[in-house]
Symmetry: C2
């Protein structure tokens, strides 16, 4: 099934726009797992199993696995999600970007090795650096557009002939690069006005929105700016605020409570469902 | 030792501006190793040992290891270079880019896990996405500026208020971001006029120049456009044209011959040494 179709189905079936980011940090694990990189899988599996009915997607961040030599645990985690929670798309947050021959290798990494449904990609190197991911039938390609960090403005907000660079990326993505129909964009919750600008440029294209929770983005403003007709169109990501909602052995229950509250906070702002 | 100081010493001691890119593709290995991902280390080690006296740097491309679950072989390869060929800087070509908390993890991956001397980084997310790499004392941060692929022009050549985006990146890198003195820039050999523009903006900052060999960039034009006083300032990368110079069991000797010819072709174009 196509990534975008899977995401759309997950939005409806789970009544949720919440994406949980899996950024495992062994130093923040509860006492029984703390400081044990080999417990990354166990920690993430507990979070996944406690929250799978509440989310439209999971988004493992590969850097948190790579820093700990835990690629095998990332493979196992994604396999676990596919096997035990079918219908939830897995977004590999890797922000890859390279020339075509190398991008083909990165696409193999994301889609063959890790069996991700979508991967985040950096657009700085242009179309031919994105094409190898698009060549994987049905797989999602989520391009960085306006990122949630303060430094995102350094280049992304530069004026490029009457529009900003991130607007140009959005416009090109919508009009030229989305040949597969499985493109999406990253737009940070920390800049709701810019979510609105991107939404105006890209029609119904899904937006992956990091920056609520630990990064401080505003849920109501994000939903108002980014939702499509019927209250869809967004995968709103929270990572640390859910993963580390509790610091004790009941961390998975604490994560579930945080996920429930976040989903409800999002849903309270959505337009009536159609 | 600092990355830039190590690179400068390697330029002089080995009389070479040649960087060999390690992009192992098991389908292109000689018959005895062909199709065997577990032979990636053996293939790369043979190339390294046959060419180490001819290069100023080695540049493993992590995608080619990650696609084959060969992270352990990449660790072993970099360890081999450090142990058996001290003084040659290792550039991990990873083109990472993410928000600060995640970039810290990627910096650990590159510098703690892989023990690279420098890593390539994508500037699209701005200064705070680069800072965590700069925080590693002595390590090199090599920012994408003008990449060698055709699509590089899609964003990098956009006009941003009287200069192109890649020129802006070069200018910011030289004047604001290079607090450590260990920054460098990627500028493709396929666009010599743009190498000259970058050189004019960044003083003596080292440039990593991919795009000769398989990608067709011109050595004479690259050296003329990019060298600093005395014929330094460049790490000119060739990957496939050297790795796969021979297809038989004498591939390492063939790689050495190709590396010798490339180094000499570069040296023939350099200004008299000072």
């Amino acid at each position: 099934m196509d990534f975008v179709a899977t995401l759309q189905a997950a939005w409806r079936e789970r009544n949720s726009l919440l994406c949980i980011g899996l950024d495992p940090d062994p130093y923040r694990f509860p006492a029984s797992l703390a400081g044990r990189p080999e417990a990354i899988f166990a920690f993430c599996r507990a979070i996944v199993d406690a929250t799978a009915d509440l989310v439209c997607a999971f988004k493992p961040q590969i850097a948190y696995f790579a820093a700990w030599r835990a690629e095998d645990q990332l493979e196992a985690l994604i396999g676990h999600i596919h096997t035990h929670h079918p219908g939830i798309p897995v977004i590999l947050d890797a922000k890859r970007g390279d020339i075509g021959s190398t991008a083909s290798q990165y696409a193999s990494e994301a889609f063959a090795r890790y069996r991700a449904d979508a991967v985040t990609v950096n657009p700085y190197m242009g179309y031919d650096s994105i094409e190898p991911y698009l060549a994987w039938h049905g797989k999602g390609v989520i391009l960085l557009c306006r990122t949630s960090n303060a430094g995102g403005a350094d280049l992304q907000n530069l004026d490029v002939g009457g529009e900003k660079l991130y607007e140009r990326v959005a416009r090109i993505a919508a009009t030229k690069w989305n040949s597969s129909g499985n493109c999406a964009l990253v737009v940070g919750a920390t800049f709701p006005a810019e979510i609105a600008r991107v939404r105006a440029l890209v029609g119904d294209m899904p937006l992956l929105v990091p920056g609520i929770g630990a990064q401080g983005g505003d849920i109501a403003a994000t939903v108002a700016a980014g939702q499509t007709a019927g209250g869809f169109g967004l995968a709103i990501n929270s990572s640390r605020a859910i993963l580390y909602a509790g610091s004790g052995e009941d961390f998975a229950n604490a994560a579930r409570r945080a996920a429930l509250l976040t989903r409800e906070a999002i849903n309270a702002c959505r337009a009536p469902r159609t």
